[in-house]
Structure formats: C-alpha cells, structure tokens
C-alpha cells in the first residue's frame, strides 16, 4: 500500500524536477554586451639619474593573448618641456616584450614628469609622476636569530628591525625591500674554502619561499606608531655552496601611485576567476589607459652578517 504522502506520480515528478534542476544550474553563455575597446597599458618605474624605460601593451578581451605595442609614439615631458621621445628596444630573448627607453635623458628629484603614449588603434594616454626625496635609514638590526638545517639547506630565521627618518609632517610612502648578501664558496681540491664574489639574493618569510628574483617587499605608509618596523625574514642557503654574508635593506621612497599600484598587485586575486570572489581593483594613474607610471628613490644599507 502506498503512503498517501508520496504516491507514484509524486515520485515521478520529483525525478523529473531533479533531473532538470541538476542538469540546468549552469550553462555557457555569450554575454550580450559590447566588447570593451582595447586600451593602452603602460608600465614604468623610474629612478633618479637612470634612463626612463617603459613597457607598452594593451588590454584584450578576456581569453585572448597578449599583444605588445611596438609602434607607439612615446614622449616624456619634464614640467611642460619635452624631455625626449623614447625609442623602442626589442626584447633580448625570443618572446620577450620590448620596451621604450630614453637615450640620454635621466630624471631628477623634485621635477614633475608626464608621459604621453599614442599608438594606432588606441586612444592616447598620459600619466604624471615625480621622484620623491630619499629617506635615510637610521638603524638596521637583527633580532631573534635562529638557524636550522633542512637537508642541504641552512635556514636563518630572524627579525629585521629598521628605523628610518620619516618626516612627521607629511604622508610618505615606502617600499622596503630586503635581500641577503650571499658569499658563494667552493672547496678546492686541496680542501681549502675558496670564497668568490658576493651577490644579492632574494629572501623569503616563514610563509613564503622566494620566487626567483622576487624578494620580500613591504609597503609602508609613514612609519607607524611603534617608531620602528620589524619584519620576520627567512634566508635559505645551500649549505654546501653558500654563506650568509649580510642583509641588505633597500628603502624605496615611492610616489603614492607606486604605493597604491604595488599594493593592489600584492593581494591575492587568484580566486576572482571563479566568479565568487570579489576581484581586486588594480590601481592605475594613466588617463584613458591603464598601468602605472611612477617614480621612486631609494637608499640601501648593509648589515654585516659574517661574525654572527
């Protein structure tokens, strides 16, 4: 005897409904919207007394490949005067995008620079930035140093404390980058340790291993209430080939554009493609286009590690 609550036709309809429900909750769609017009994307961080280089590309509808822009007219202005027209330099390796560069002109602190880029098929774009004054590092010290051996790696875990002369009456932006100075060595046939020229190597944190040349970069606004900035860092060296020679702190004094751009890039945007996460809105300071044109300054200070 069938239950009065679920006769056969209820079940049949249920299965029908569930089939429909389970098979139809997603579908590929052609979005019925205008494809956004491609915009120029520029990317340049410039430094005092160095040539100004600039990469130029363009946005593309999602899913299509990157197309470098190699026929752009790129002009750099210092104040209202044309400083130089940049020339295109091809990439050194196959597949590497080329860039535009000044041949002679090198920017200075305190001047306002405007970049103007135009290319066929795109709206011309402009961006303005300047190079802030450098800020001196007052002190640099290491605390809570521990070492550990993991297979053939020696891991140095420590806190780097840095104090710098942040002007109190204005807002300043910084990008603190930390490197390790590594002294490579080898054991000669006679058993002697032969030390070679040192070089800078990226450091990581307990949570993140360094990826290639990308080292720890801490974005700061002013100095905070504590007066010092402390960053926990991990150096990982090959025990059989490398010695830790020192730690280098590079304090970049950056323009607000640099700070906000780098900060928006620093966040995890990986989930946005799934559609469920809010994407990160990338900062840009380019009128009619995208990207960043930002000056910065920097000072470096070494902390010798040899006697630790």
């Amino acid at each position: 005897m069938r239950s009065p609550a679920s006769p056969w036709w209820t079940r049949a309809l249920t299965v029908l409904a569930l089939c429909h429900l389970a098979s139809s909750c997603e579908e590929p769609v052609e979005l019925d919207i205008d494809i956004p017009r491609s915009r120029l994307v520029i990317n340049s961080n410039f430094f005092p007394d160095e040539l100004v280089t600039l990469r130029v590309s363009a946005t593309r509808p999602i899913g299509t490949g990157k197309i470098p822009v190699i026929d752009a007219q790129v002009s750099l202005f210092e104040g209202t005067e044309l400083a130089e027209r940049l020339t295109f330099l091809s990439g050194k390796e196959a597949g590497e995008a080329g860039s535009y560069s000044t041949n002679r002109f090198r920017p200075r602190v305190g001047q306002k620079y405007t970049i103007h880029v135009s290319a066929a098929g795109y709206d011309p774009v402009t961006a303005v930035s300047s190079i802030p004054d450098p800020i001196a590092i007052n002190s640099l010290s290491i605390h809570h140093l521990t070492t550990a051996q993991l297979l053939d790696e020696t891991i140095y875990d420590y806190r780097l404390r840095i104090d710098y002369a942040d002007p109190q009456d204005e807002i300043n932006y910084y990008d603190l980058r930390i490197y390790q100075r590594v002294l490579p060595f080898k054991i000669s046939a006679e058993g002697d340790t032969v030390r070679m020229n040192s070089y800078l190597k990226a450091v990581g944190t307990p949570d993140r291993l360094p990826e290639g040349a990308s080292t720890v970069s801490v974005l700061l606004r002013d100095k905070g209430e504590s007066g010092e900035v402390e960053v926990r860092v991990q150096s990982r060296l090959n025990s059989g080939r490398e010695l830790l020679n020192g730690v280098v702190a590079e304090l970049r004094t950056v323009s607000p554009e640099y700070y906000f751009y780098r900060r928006s890039l620093a966040r995890d945007n990986s989930g946005a493609a799934g559609g469920l996460n809010e994407p990160i809105i990338i900062f840009d300071n380019v009128d009619s286009g995208l990207g960043i044109f930002a000056g910065y300054n920097s000072v470096k200070q070494d902390l010798d590690f040899t006697d630790r």
Binding site: T10, L18, V216
Partner: protein, 897 residues
C-alpha cells in the same frame, strides 16, 4: 411616541402634583410577575401599581430581565432591576428618581485580557478590540494581550481580526475587568493580511508599522518544489529583495543580509536559509505569522541596522489534537499538535526532511558519469520545531520553543579533457586539462527560548525570556584548472583551496513590559542582557605572492566573549489627530576591555490627512555591534559573524522615512513611501584579503547609503486579491582605498527598478489560484571582461576589473503559479491540502554569478586556450507539488487561521 412612553411622559408631568399630594410609604410592597421582561416594562408596571418613579426611558438599557416575581418594597425592586445596569436611584421629595450612576460613568476602567482563537487557543496578534458605541479601540500586542481604557457603564464590545468572525458583546463595566476574548474562525473569503490597517483599526493602527504576513497567504503562494516559504512572500513586498531565487538572503531597503534582525519568538537567528537561500528555515507549518519592519522600528528591536523580521511560531492547539503529514517535491513534513491538558497546555512539533538530497546523490553520480565526469552531489537538510505552552495561574503562561536545523552539502566533480596536438613536422603532443571542484559545506542553527508571560494588572503586561541561539558553520572547497603536457611532463595551473569554520553563540535574558496609561497610550520598556561567544576561523589557502603588506601575527583561533546590555523605552500617544511614538534604546557593548555605548532615538509621527488618507513620518537610529563578513560575492554559510572589538566599532544607521496611505475604495489601499538611509562604520574584507587569519586588523571600514521610492496598490478582499508594487531605489557603498580604490560603487543588490505583482484568485471557497511575478534590475557585479598584460609573466595576462560592481547582470524576473486547494468536509476529521504549480513558469535563467573556465582546443597545430563564461543559476522551470493530509478533531476552519 408609543403609548407607554406617552404614559410615562404624562406621569412625569403629573409628578409635581402628586408629590404635593402625597409621599409614598417606603415600606409599601409592590408586586411584579415572575417572567422575562424589559427594564422599561418592569418600571411601567411598578408605576402603574402606584410607585412614584421618575426616569428617562431613553437611558434604560434594552436588555431582557428575568424578574424573580413576588412582592418587594420599591427600593428592593430597584436594587434587583438596576443591578446589571449603570443606573442608580435616589429618593427625593417627588419619589424615586432613576438616573445614570455618575460614579460609574465617569470612572475610568480598563478592559484587558488575551485575544485567542476559540478553536485552537492560539493567541491572536494585532486583533482590533473596540468599544464601538464610544468610538475607541486598541490592538492586541504580539503576545495577544490587549488593554483598553474606557469608562464604566454599559458598552458594546466588538473584536475583529482578519479571518475570524467579528466578536460582539454587550457588557457593563463597573470595575477593571479581565475579559479574555475567543474568536471563531470564519469561512469568508480571506483577506490578505499583509499591510493590516483597515477602516476599523484606523485610530489604533497608526503606530502599528509592521507588515504582517500570515501563513495562509504563504500557503497559497506555494514555492519551489511546493515548499511554502514565508520569505517568498516577503520578497514580493516593495523594498525587499534578494539574489536570484532567494540566494544571498533577504535585503531590505539597500541594507545587507547581515543587517537584518531576524527573530524567532523574540530570539535573534544567525542563519536564515536552507540551500543557500532557496528556502528559509521557517517551516510554514510552524509559524503563525511574520512581521516585517522596514522603517519606524519600535524601540524594542535593536542590534541590527537593517530591517526587522519578527517571526512568531504557533503555540499548538489547546483543545484538540491535530496531525499533519505531507510531502513536497523536495521534502517530507510532519506536524503534531494538541492539548496536554485541555485548555491549559499544549504542544507543537513540526519537522521537515529534505529527502530529495538522497535522490540527488544517485542521480548526480549517473549524470556526471554520462558526461565523462567523476563525482557526486549530496545534500542533507532537516529542521525541527518544538513548542510547549502551559498556563501558569490565572494570568500567566509559560512557553518553551526550540528550533534546530542542519544543512550538509557536498559536491565533487573531476574531469579531464585530452587534447592531441600534431605540429607541422608531424610530432604529436598530448595535453590533458584536468579540472576539479570539491565543496563541502555544513551549517546549522539552534534557537531556544523559555518565556513567561504575565498579566500583572489591567494596565501592565510583562514577558520574561531566557534565550539561546547559535550558528555553527564549516565549509571547505578546493578547485583547480590545470594543463598537463603529458608528452614532456610539464604541469601548469593553480589550486585554490580553503576552509572556513565559524561558531557564534548567544545566551540572553530579557524582560519586556507594556504599561498602558490611557486609550492608545502606553509605555513599552524592557531590559536585555546577552553574552556572545564568537569563534571565527578563517580560510587557510595557499598564496604565491612575493610582495605583501606588513604582517601581524595573531592567533588563528581567536575567541571573543562580548557582553551586551540593553535597555529601551517608548511611549505611544497622541495629541489631537497626531499620533506619535517616541522611543530610545541604549546599549552597552563590551568586548576585550573596550566598551561602546550607544543611544538610539526613534520617532514616529502619523495621523489622518483626510477621511480616507493618512500620513506617516519616522526617524530611526540603529546600532549593530556584530558584523557579517561576506567571503564571497553571494551570501554563503561561510560568511563570518564577527563582533565589534576595540578596533572595530559598531555599525550605525539613520533612516528618515515618509509614507502616504490612501484608501480610495473599501478594501483598496494605495501606499507610497520615500526613505533615505545612511550607514556608517560598515566593515568588509578588503579586496584579496578574504583569506587572512588576522581579520581584526585587516578589515576595511566604510559607509553606505540607500534611498528610494516605494509605491504599491493593494486589494485586500474580493475574488481577485493581491497587490502591485513598484520600487525605485539606489544603494551604494564607499570604503577605504582597499576596496574599489576608495571610490563609491553600487551595492551588489542595488536594484534600480523593481516590480512585484501578486494575484490571488478565489476559484472556490477552498481553492485559490495564485500568480506572482517579480522583476528587478540585475545585480551589480564585478565582472572581468578584459585582461591586462602581466609585466612579470608572458601569457594571456590577468583578468582585469576596473570598477567594483561595475557590470549589470541581466534583469531578474520570474513568474510562479500555484493552485492551492483543500478537500474534506467542514466537520470531517480529514483534510487534504494540495498545491500544484509551476515555479519559474517561463524558465528564466536568472544568473547568480558568472564563472570563467578555460577550454582548450587545437587550431592549425597550435594549442589554443579559450575562456568561456558560464552563467550559474539555481532554478529553471520546475513543477511544484505539495500534498498534506491533516487529521483533526473536526470542526476546523479552512481559512484565516
């Protein structure tokens, strides 16, 4: 003038003469026959027998008196005859004068008591109690209690309530009187309860600002799969919206889902939905009614800055047992209710089990396998409501109510495309593109309340409450889209994974009271103390970035135990034709050594403009010391409730609202409202930082605003009933520069235009056909349509979004149809309730969000990656079917309960 009256008139004229001639003997006996007669007849007979009596016939009540018969002195007869009247007598020089007793007529008394359903004993909220011959009235409060100040004497009491036969009674009031009123359900066509005030209730309803939703309308509307849901009806009201098919929760006037105060028998509820919002946790079998407040929020409500959804559960039948079993296309339901001790205590038990989840698992495995995928979908849902009530003395009642529900969802999918690529030289490369999705979400609520109602006296009613509420969620997900070059062993792709867990508990004790001072004037006041426990645990995901902001180290498991103390008071009154309610709510929130004190004033002014038009102005300030952090763009159980801390201040909001109501014809109501709302101290995850364990330091702070115009026209009686509403609204948000670079952006549920149509057609006494159509501007969504080259990496670039919520989804609209009928004889013991309908009748695929997925193919020997947009939606066209079999003691009413 009839002859007896003429006679009396003549007697009165003659009385000065007779007074001069003689004084009657007070010990003289007069005889009256033993029978039923009117007071006037009795007095005439006494007069005819020689008694010297003076009185005004028009003041004599026309009630039959049972005369005991025999002989008595005149004074003794007058005592007997005038005993149940407001009249008294006095002996003077001209004999005995019968006149209204000024001590009774001028003395203020109170009528008070409870209004209940005669058949079930359920207390009726918002019933209108009137002394019709004096033009005064009041309404029962949410506990069914009423108090009506009047003066002594004979009066005509009339009680009305939607779905019930009017109750009328002549009564003589000589003192404060407890009168419990028991209404009988009627069999008339039901009125739509939503927006209650009618002409009868006009003066007492000016300050009743909630919109009421009754369970019968909910049953008539139906729902997906046949699952009747009160929130489906709430979403048809102007100013109320949600995501597609209810996903995301409920949004009232531009506020967020976490801004709404959801109360179940007075206890805050932290999780509102089953199935992510497709159904609410409120079983229509368990609820009695739901009140929705969008503005003019009474001071007794607080702790949230959005709207209020006050859900009352049924008490259970006090007089007879009733059992219901039934099933929709998605769930089976049972309900049992009945007296424990007849008329004194009762119970109610309801339960739902979504058995469709079991079928989904089997079906999904087969479905996925047929499409080359591995995996399954499994979903378990149940909820249980239990309620006990017991009379406690003459004036008290104890209630114990419990709710518990659980959702347990799991979905896994794995599939891999193999793409073979042959280059110009004939070399063959094999690529595999495995894609995996795995989600597991489990969440559950428990809500409990122990309440004691007491009628202290004719003016004072009180409610004591102990409460408990919790929400426990656990969820995890993992997804990857990879490309494996099988030939040379290169693997590329990302794995995204995470797990959330959150626990919130609230223990509370509260006292709420009402003290009446005069007609439609009363104080409402109360105290509440709540202890919360928050255990938020956040996403643990992989990160790959080399750059990061300054890290802070905090414990991942960070328990908070905030305490909240609240007091409130409000006064309802009127000055001539201006009715007002002025209220204050003060709250103290203390967490981790930091205290926040807030005072929230509330003001409501209302009154008549013309004979059939009313106006209303209101101001509300509200405070919310807990925050709901949305992990994803749609509301999911992984959203995290977090408390205000020393670094996170409570959110506040202020709302100004004005309303104009017009009744152009009987049972037609036109209503239009405008509002402006500002919100402050809102918190949200900054972009890209949903995964941070140190949530306290990393939240963005912002503000929001919402404003709009709401218009509706409603017909509440007749064969064709329903309403049509239109809403024009705007809502936006502005956070610090970590969200949308500090620029103002539209709120996700910023619906510029919304049209809601509800039509209920009465096909027969027990059969209705209900159609509902809703149209809303599409969601504001952050959709990436273009890529920006990554300067560090060659390749297709990274998706780029220039504006948060800068893309408008297609408009959201849907038409539902439901035929609701009941079969069974009027006094029979079995009733069959059947619903047949179509959900989403024209198969509109309303998007919830869009997802991009890579598709690979080979073109000219080259492996091409193409991105395809997928629209994710919930419900296509679905048949809906529901059947319930109700066993009862007979004599049940089909409507208006």
């Amino acid at each position: 003038m009839t002859w007896p009256r003429l006679l009396i008139f003549l007697v009165l004229l003659a009385s000065p003469l007779t007074r001069c001639l003689s004084q009657s003997d007070p010990l003289e006996l007069f005889a009256l026959p033993r029978r039923v007669m009117s007071l006037e007849q009795a007095l005439i007979e006494l007069t005819q027998a020689g008694a010297e009596l003076s009185y005004r016939p028009d003041l004599l009540p026309e009630v039959p008196l049972r005369i005991p018969g025999g002989q008595r002195t005149l004074e003794r007869w007058l005592e007997v005859l005038l005993r149940d009247t407001e009249l008294t007598y006095e002996r003077g020089a001209a004999g005995y004068l019968v006149f209204p007793n000024p001590d009774i007529l001028n003395q203020p008394f109170n009528l008070f008591g409870m209004v209940t359903d005669r058949r079930t004993g359920e207390r009726l909220i918002g019933a209108t109690v009137q002394v019709s011959d004096r033009g005064i009235g009041t309404q029962s409060n949410e506990y069914g209690f009423y108090t009506l100040p009047t003066t002594g004497g004979r009066q005509h009491l009339r009680v009305t309530y939607v779905g019930y036969a009017p109750f009328e009674q002549e009564l003589l009031l000589r003192s404060d009187s407890l009168i419990n009123l028991r209404l009988v359900p009627n069999r008339e066509l039901p009125q739509i309860i939503v927006t209650a005030t009618n002409a009868d209730q006009r003066s007492s309803g000016y300050l009743d600002t909630g919109t009421q939703i009754g369970r019968e309308e909910v049953a008539q509307l139906g729902g997906p799969g046949g699952e009747a849901d009160p929130l489906q009806l709430a979403r048809l009201l102007s100013g109320v919206t949600s995501g597609a098919d209810g996903i995301g929760g409920i949004f009232i006037r531009g506020s967020e889902a976490g801004h709404n105060l959801i109360l179940l028998d007075g206890v805050p509820v932290y999780g509102l939905s089953h199935a992510g919002g497709l159904f609410s946790i409120f079983s229509n079998q368990a609820i009695r009614r739901m009140d929705l407040y969008k503005d003019a929020i009474p001071a007794r409500f607080g702790g949230r800055i959005g709207g209020v959804l006050d859900v009352h559960t049924r008490d259970g039948n006090l007089y007879e047992n009733e059992y219901t079993i039934g099933s929709s296309l998605l769930s089976s339901q049972i309900a049992a209710e009945g007296p424990i001790k007849n008329g004194e205590s009762s119970f109610l038990l309801t339960g739902r089990y979504f058995w469709a989840g079991k079928l989904i698992r089997n079906y999904s495995e087969t479905y996925k396998a047929n499409r080359g995928r591995r995996g399954f979908t499994d979903y378990d849902v149940y909820d249980v409501n239990f309620k006990l009530n017991q009379r406690a003395g003459e004036r008290g009642r104890v209630y114990l109510s419990l709710y518990s529900g659980l959702d347990n969802y799991m979905n896994t999918t794995w599939y891999a495309d193999t793409i073979t690529q042959i280059n110009a030289a004939g070399a063959m490369f094999i690529n595999a593109a495995p894609t995996s999705r795995a989600e597991h979400v489990r969440w559950g609520n428990t809500v409990g309340a122990l309440r004691y109602n007491h009628v202290f006296n004719d003016r004072t009613f009180g409610n004591f409450r102990l409460s408990y509420s919790d929400l426990v969620t656990e969820s995890s997900f993992e997804r990857y889209d990879s490309l494996i070059e099988v030939t040379n062993g290169i693997v590329s792709g990302n794995i995204f994974s995470g797990s959330y867990a959150s626990k919130i508990r609230q223990f509370g004790v509260a006292f709420d009271a009402q003290y009446s001072t005069a007609l439609n004037s009363f104080f409402r006041f109360g105290l509440e103390a709540d202890l919360h426990q928050f255990d938020p645990q956040l996403l643990n995901g992989s990160e790959k970035l080399a750059s990061y902001e300054l890290e802070q180290e905090v414990a991942a498991h960070d328990t908070h135990l905030p305490v909240q103390l609240t007091s409130y008071g409000s006064y309802n009154g009127n000055y001539r034709q201006v009715y007002y309610r002025i209220g204050f709510r003060s709250s103290l929130w203390r967490n981790q050594g930091r205290s926040y004190y807030n005072l929230s004033p509330r003001l409501l002014l209302a009154g008549p403009l013309t004979e059939n038009a009313d106006w209303q102005l209101s101001y509300d300030r509200t405070v919310q010391p807990i925050h709901l952090l949305n992990s994803f763009v749609i509301g999911l159980p992984s959203d995290l409730w977090v408390p205000s801390t020393p670094d996170i201040a409570p959110a506040t909001a202020q709302q100004l609202s004005a309303k104009y109501k017009l009744r152009p014809r009987t049972d037609w109501n036109f209503e239009t409202s405008v509002y402006y709302k500002s919100m402050h101290n809102l918190v949200s995850y900054p972009e890209g930082l949903q995964s941070r364990v140190n949530w306290i330091e990393n939240l963005s702070n912002g503000r929001g605003r919402a404003y709009g115009l709401e218009t509706s026209i409603q017909r509440s009686r007749g064969k064709l009933r329903g309403w049509l509403s239109y809403t024009l609204a705007k809502s936006d948000r502005t956070y610090d520069e970590r969200i949308n670079l500090g620029r103002t952006y539209p709120f996700r549920y910023d619906r510029r235009h919304a049209v809601n149509l509800l039509l209920i057609y009465q096909l027969g006494e027990r059969t209705t056909l209900t159609g509902s159509w809703r149209y809303e501007t599409g969601l504001a969504y952050s959709l990436s349509l273009e890529t920006i080259p990554d300067p560090q990496m060659p390749g297709p670039g990274v998706p780029f979004t220039s504006e948060r919520n800068g893309f408008r989804m297609p408009a959201n609209h849907r038409f539902d149809l439901n035929l609701h009928t009941k079969l069974g004889s009027a006094n029979g013991k079995l009733t069959h309730s059947i619903d047949v309908g179509l959900y989403n009748a024209y198969n509109r695929h309303n998007p919830i969000y869009y997802e991009t997925r890579p598709d690979y193919y080979v073109n000219d020997g080259e492996l091409i990656r193409e991105t395809t947009f997928y629209k994710i939606f919930v419900a296509p066209l679905l048949p809906s079917l529901s059947y319930q079999l109700i066993f009862s003691g007979g004599n049940r009413s089909d409507f208006g309960k």
